[in-house]
């Protein structure tokens, strides 16, 4: 294609990732997380909150995925801040994040997942865990119309190849993101409102 790539995949460098479990209906839990992470865990299903580089993705009614810049220490401070039923697990080694941008980024998603990524159903601030090719992934809609796709490290070679293959017909370019930013140069998709 002469008018530039239709799909650009940029892979994030190392980041910190944590799986958080607890009672989201408890204000003390939400406040405790917000105090340490700087962003509160979303209560609305299939949404994510961001503050700067830190994110909290809804994974389930009592489960969130947190991410922050590489080297951040959340585990001990969160244990200190949260009381009662909760769990915090470092999963930094398990996650790979790629950002898909370009006019046809959505087409790559449609080749990969049965979920409905139409902007009306999947506006910025939404996220979804779903089948992705023959693996699974967390897909998040960004304010700049790009998508973040988070998947397990062991599937990374397969999925990088899959995405490149799916994007080829639209013109595909592969780049990288800085180590600190899952998606650089973008506005915050959803304000922290609780």
């Amino acid at each position: 294609m002469s008018d530039g790539p239709g799909v650009v995949m940029r892979e994030s460098g190392a980041r910190g990732w944590w799986n958080l479990r607890g009672d989201g209906d408890e204000p003390r839990f939400r406040d405790g997380v917000a105090a340490v992470v700087g962003v509160s865990p979303p209560i609305e299903p299939c949404t994510w909150h961001a503050a700067g580089d830190r994110r909290a993705y809804w994974l389930g009614p009592d489960e969130w995925l947190l991410t922050a810049e590489h080297g951040t220490e959340f585990e001990s401070p969160l244990r200190g801040a949260l009381h009662g039923r909760c769990s915090i697990v470092d999963v930094s080694g398990a996650q790979i994040l790629v950002n898909l941008s370009g006019a046809q980024a959505g087409e790559v998603l449609r080749k990969s997942s049965p979920y409905d990524f139409h902007p009306r159903r999947f506006p910025p601030g939404r996220c979804v865990q779903t089948n992705f090719a023959k693996a699974t992934a967390l897909v998040a809609a960004n304010a700049d119309a790009s998508f973040d796709v988070v998947f397990r490290r062991s599937y990374a070679d397969y999925l990088r190849g899959w995405i490149a293959d799916a994007g080829r017909e639209y013109g595909f370019l592969r780049g990288s993101l800085g180590t600190d930013h899952p998606t650089r140069r973008q506005r915050q998709p959803a304000q922290d409102d609780d």
Partner: protein, 984 residues
């Protein structure tokens, strides 16, 4: 041959004067093109050669391109055989050949008969229409998931009106049509809309749709399947019209559509009339004759005879006349047809013969004339002898059969409507509507208005618009139409059984006599008759013949058509290529490979791979010149004598936190975890509720309320789902959270007497001494400068440390350990050596040495079962059921072959007396078997009936080559029975 842009293969063949396009399947009769679309039964072709070759295409749907290379799918050799044997292949041929003759029905289970066996090879060649392509398909196919508020199937007048109306509501629309151009029947006929040629209206409609936001048009796209909850599959042929192999991009795309609402505007297929020799080339559907004339400028003959039971087909006579061609006559089976079209034909001076039917086509290689005779009142007799009229085309129209295949696929049974003389779709429920000819509409105006209403209704049901239409149908020039006559089998002066063949299903050569025979032989259900005669079994699924077949059966059984009913249709509407079904899930994408962080190291060090679940694990690392056994021997000895290193990252790992974590583990494992000290590990067995072994592994207590569970590689996800299930559904009150950390940790297992020395070189903050870091301890510290969790556990019986670090650093730490081990001769080893080492120790592999019937007792593992826990554990109760206490159950033992160099085959059956008369009682089977380099002999594990009480007995393993290997039953622990080597 030459054609024009826009031609189909069929129109080009007809234009080139090719009247014979196939040889019929059973009788070897010449066949010509009958239709002009998906319904075509005869002109079935195979395109191209080699891997790109595609069989089973309808020439009526193949768009012409330069260099197109096509052959009939029929095959000369098989056809010649079938031709010869034709008269011996009456109805029920398949059935009788497959299942035995009818008089043998009482025999209970039907078996293939000797006749089937003998004729199988002949039939296999004769029945397959087309040839399996040789070689890999060079093309690319893919899948695409789509969602829409309204899916419109078919872009004829009803479909376009529906799409226009729905699109104006703002709903998300997808409209798919199998033809290259949208417009449906409007492309074929000489219709006018709003005073202009209908093509103008089509162009305007398509332009409006194309410019609407959220409307997607899919031409060349066949809706092939309609499944539950409005899930449909659409095959889009993206490059088929350009050539056999796509220059670049995707040849075909399978759209997987989830639609809020579906509007079926699939139209109708004209129904043939059944008369003697109605399969002669030159007998065609009336609408097809018009289509070739109007759309492709092809006159399919010189002199036309139109045989009709309705007004609509009179258009064909008018079209023919308008083209300056001769119409021999219009033969109308109705007594007194009247209406605008009839008047127009009469007004043009054409001879209209009413109350008559064509009883027989004349001519052998193609039609040279028609025999016509007056019909009696019930249409089941002739009132005078037939007379001959010369012609070279007989255009037929028995009426219209709605294309209800998709509605039928959803399980909605079609209903017979006497007034429409057709099956119409049954109740489609709240998620689908039908409109236009498929719903029984006969006029263009009705099609447009029904379409618009369906579009508005569908959009409104999907939450868009009011449901009222704003559509005003353009003026049409249609005269009113008189009712059609129901005529399904034209009588012949001879009885059906002796008249020349009257074909119902052209593709599989099913005749009216076959259906009558089936009924006489006692078949009364339409589904049985279908299977007995093969009616509708072809690749065309009986699109033309089905209704006539049902009607002839009904008449033979002396019942009405509604009672007789129709067969159901299944996906796909037309054949779908395997390529489209497979999509991109081929080659490297066929099955995902999971890689550990050290994968690239293994690859660059020559690892051979073993697939474990989806993981690629190094199997062994052969050096130049080594056999597999050489390499495995070397790797095993390194682990026993010096130091070896294994990538154990694939083991399943679950983090368990909460104040009830210990209680939870107590319930899911046979052993207790409550009293396990922090920093210690314990081996556990997990049972299914039926008491059989589900999984095993080591669990460590990391903190008061935190554990880390290891599971087997292949079972990791099943175990995790199992644990979640018990927590979420049975014990939600337990304060425990489970998190999979399999992918987070990279694990390097350092094994062998020198492992402590190697680890000491890269770890200075853990006291590695024997008493400070005991067997089954876990410690945290740093390895190669990276935060690490180190387990002193062993699956080999040797001193062993498993170093776990965040996967981001897995490769780095592996490299550091390998480098530190250099002076000790550190040797990477794979899963094969791992298996030999554990088998020498008698450690089982769940799923290899155990199966879904093996209890802990069977595996000799009572030592890991605690029967006195307060709650008990999953599977506990089942250990006491009578069957599990039998003493003759299969039990784990070791086998030492008499000949130390012979390795038993895994899976080999064991018997006590190999010379006994068959069936020889089985004593058990071999589950694991290797050559042990350390022991210098063959070792095996086996499950043997009452095995634990039979130590010292000799069993025999008969091999496929006739030899028998004998082996003595021994303890499964072959090496270091007291476990001294791991406690150093």
């Amino acid at each position: 041959m030459h054609g024009f842009a826009g031609d189909t293969l069929a129109s080009a063949l007809l234009a080139n004067g090719v009247s014979r396009v196939a040889t019929s399947f059973k009788y070897g009769r010449p066949r010509g093109v009958v239709g002009h679309g998906a319904e075509e039964p005869n002109a079935i072709v195979q395109l191209g050669q080699g891997g790109a070759s595609v069989p089973n295409l309808r020439a009526t749907q193949v768009e012409l391109y330069d260099g197109l290379d096509a052959r009939p799918c029929s095959r000369s050799k098989a056809q010649r055989l079938a031709g010869t044997f034709g008269r011996f292949m009456p109805a029920g041929f398949y059935y009788k050949t497959f299942m035995g003759a009818p008089q043998r029905w009482t025999a209970g289970v039907a078996r293939p008969t000797a006749l089937w066996t003998a004729s199988e090879h002949v039939l296999r060649r004769a029945t397959g229409l087309g040839r399996v392509p040789a070689g890999n398909d060079p093309d690319t196919y893919d899948r695409f998931n789509r969602h829409c508020d309204v899916l419109v199937v078919g872009a004829g007048p009803a479909g376009l009106a529906a799409a226009l109306e729905a699109a104006r509501s703002g709903a998300r629309i997808l409209i798919a049509d199998e033809q290259a151009e949208l417009g449906g029947s409007l492309l074929d006929g000489s219709y006018s809309l709003g005073g202009e040629h209908a093509s103008k209206w089509v162009a305007d409609a398509v332009a409006e749709l194309a410019s609407s936001a959220d409307v997607d048009l899919l031409p060349r796209s066949t809706v092939a399947g309609y499944y539950d909850h409005n899930f449909l599959t659409i095959v889009e042929r993206r490059t088929d019209h350009l050539g056999l192999v796509a220059a670049n991009g995707t040849r075909q795309r399978l759209h997987r559509v989830r639609a809020g609402q579906v509007v079926l505007a699939t139209g109708a297929i004209e129904r043939p009339l059944v008369f003697a020799n109605n399969d002669r080339p030159g007998v065609m559907m009336a609408s097809s004759v018009s289509s070739y004339l109007n759309r492709y400028a092809v006159a399919v003959g010189d002199e036309l005879l139109l045989f009709t039971a309705n007004d609509h087909a009179y258009r064909t006579a008018l079209d023919w006349q308008r083209a300056g061609l001769a119409v021999a006559a219009v033969v109308d089976c109705r007594e007194a047809p009247e209406g605008g079209l009839v008047d127009a034909v009469r007004g043009a001076g054409t001879r209209v013969i009413t109350g008559h039917a064509v009883t027989e086509a004349s001519g052998r290689r193609r039609v040279t004339g028609a025999m016509i005779a007056p019909l009696g009142p019930g249409a089941d007799s002739l009132t005078a002898a037939p007379q001959h009229i010369a012609c070279d085309v007989i255009a037929c129209s028995g009426g219209w059969s709605p294309t209800l295949h998709l509605s039928s696929q959803t399980g909605t049974r079609p209903r017979w409507h006497e007034s429409a003389v057709a099956f119409l779709p049954g109740d489609l429920g709240k998620r689908a509507l039908c409109a236009g000819a498929v719903a029984g509409a006969r006029s263009l105006r009705d099609c447009l208005e029904q379409g618009a209403l369906a579009g508005a209704t569908a959009a409104s049901r999907a939450g868009f618009g009011s449901g009222r239409t704003t559509f005003t149908a353009p003026e049409t020039d249609e005269p009113s139409q008189a009712p059609s006559r129901a005529l399904f089998l034209v009588p012949h002066p001879k009885p059906v059984s002796r008249a020349p063949k009257q074909f119902v299903d052209f593709q599989l050569d099913v005749t009216a006599a076959d259906i009558e025979l089936a009924a006489r032989e006692g078949y009364t259900s339409v589904e049985h008759v279908k299977r007995y005669t093969a009616l509708g079994f072809g690749t065309d699924q009986g699109k033309l013949g089905n209704v006539n077949g049902v009607a002839i059966l009904a008449r033979t059984l002396d019942q009405d058509i509604a009672t007789t009913g129709t067969t159901m249709f299944r996906p796909a509407y037309t054949p779908v290529t395997f390529g489209a079904i497979a999509g991109r899930d081929v080659g490297e994408f066929h099955d995902p490979e999971r890689h550990t962080p050290m994968h690239a190291w293994h690859a660059s060090h020559g690892a051979m791979w073993e697939d474990v679940g989806r993981w690629k694990r190094p199997w062994y690392y052969p050096r130049p010149g080594e056999t597999m056994q050489d390499a495995v021997n070397r790797e095993c000895l390194a682990a026993r004598d010096a130091v070896a290193v294994l990538d154990a990252s694939t083991l399943g790992k679950t983090d368990i936190q909460g104040t009830d974590a210990a209680e939870f583990l107590d319930r899911v494992y046979t052993i207790g975890f409550r009293k396990l000290a922090v920093g210690r590990c314990r081996y556990g067995l997990m049972l299914r509720e039926d008491g059989t072994i589900f999984d095993d592994g080591v669990t460590a207590r990391l903190a008061e309320n935190r554990y880390l569970m290891h599971t087997t590689t292949g079972n990791a996800e099943a175990v995790f789902a199992w644990l979640e299930r018990w927590h979420q559904t049975e014990w939600p009150e337990l304060d425990v959270y489970l998190t999979s950390v399999t992918d987070h940790w990279a694990t390097t297992a350092l094994v062998g007497p020198e492992s402590r020395a190697v680890l000491a070189r890269v770890c200075d903050d853990i006291d590695l001494s024997r008493d400070a870091f005991r067997f089954m301890d876990v410690r945290e510290g740093h390895v190669a400068g990276i935060a690490a969790r180190v387990f002193r556990i062993s699956f080999s019986g040797e001193l062993s440390f498993e170093v776990n670090v965040c996967a981001q650093h897995g490769r780095q730490v592996w490299d550091a350990i390998v480098e530190a081990g250099g002076e000790f001769g550190i040797t990477p080893y794979g899963t094969e050596a791992m298996h030999v080492l554990r088998a020498e120790k008698g450690f089982i592999i769940v799923g290899q040495d155990s199966d879904t019937t093996t209890t802990p007792h069977d595996a000799g593992m009572d030592w890991v079962v605690r029967r006195n826990k307060p709650f008990g554990f999953l599977g506990d109760r089942s250990l006491d059921v009578s069957d599990h206490r039998r003493e003759d159950r299969l039990q784990l033992v070791g086998l030492a072959t008499t000949d130390e160099d012979t390795v038993l085959p895994e899976g080999g059956q064991l018997v006590d007396k190999p010379e006994a008369e068959a069936p020889v009682p089985m004593a058990g089977h071999v589950t694991s078997s290797y050559h042990s380099a350390r022991l210098g002999r063959s070792i095996a594990l086996a499950m043997v009936k009452s095995g634990t009480t039979r130590l010292g007995d000799t069993l025999h393993c008969p091999l496929a080559d006739g030899r028998t290997v004998s082996a003595k039953i021994v303890s499964p622990v072959f090496y270091d029975p007291d476990g001294e080597r791991q406690n150093v």
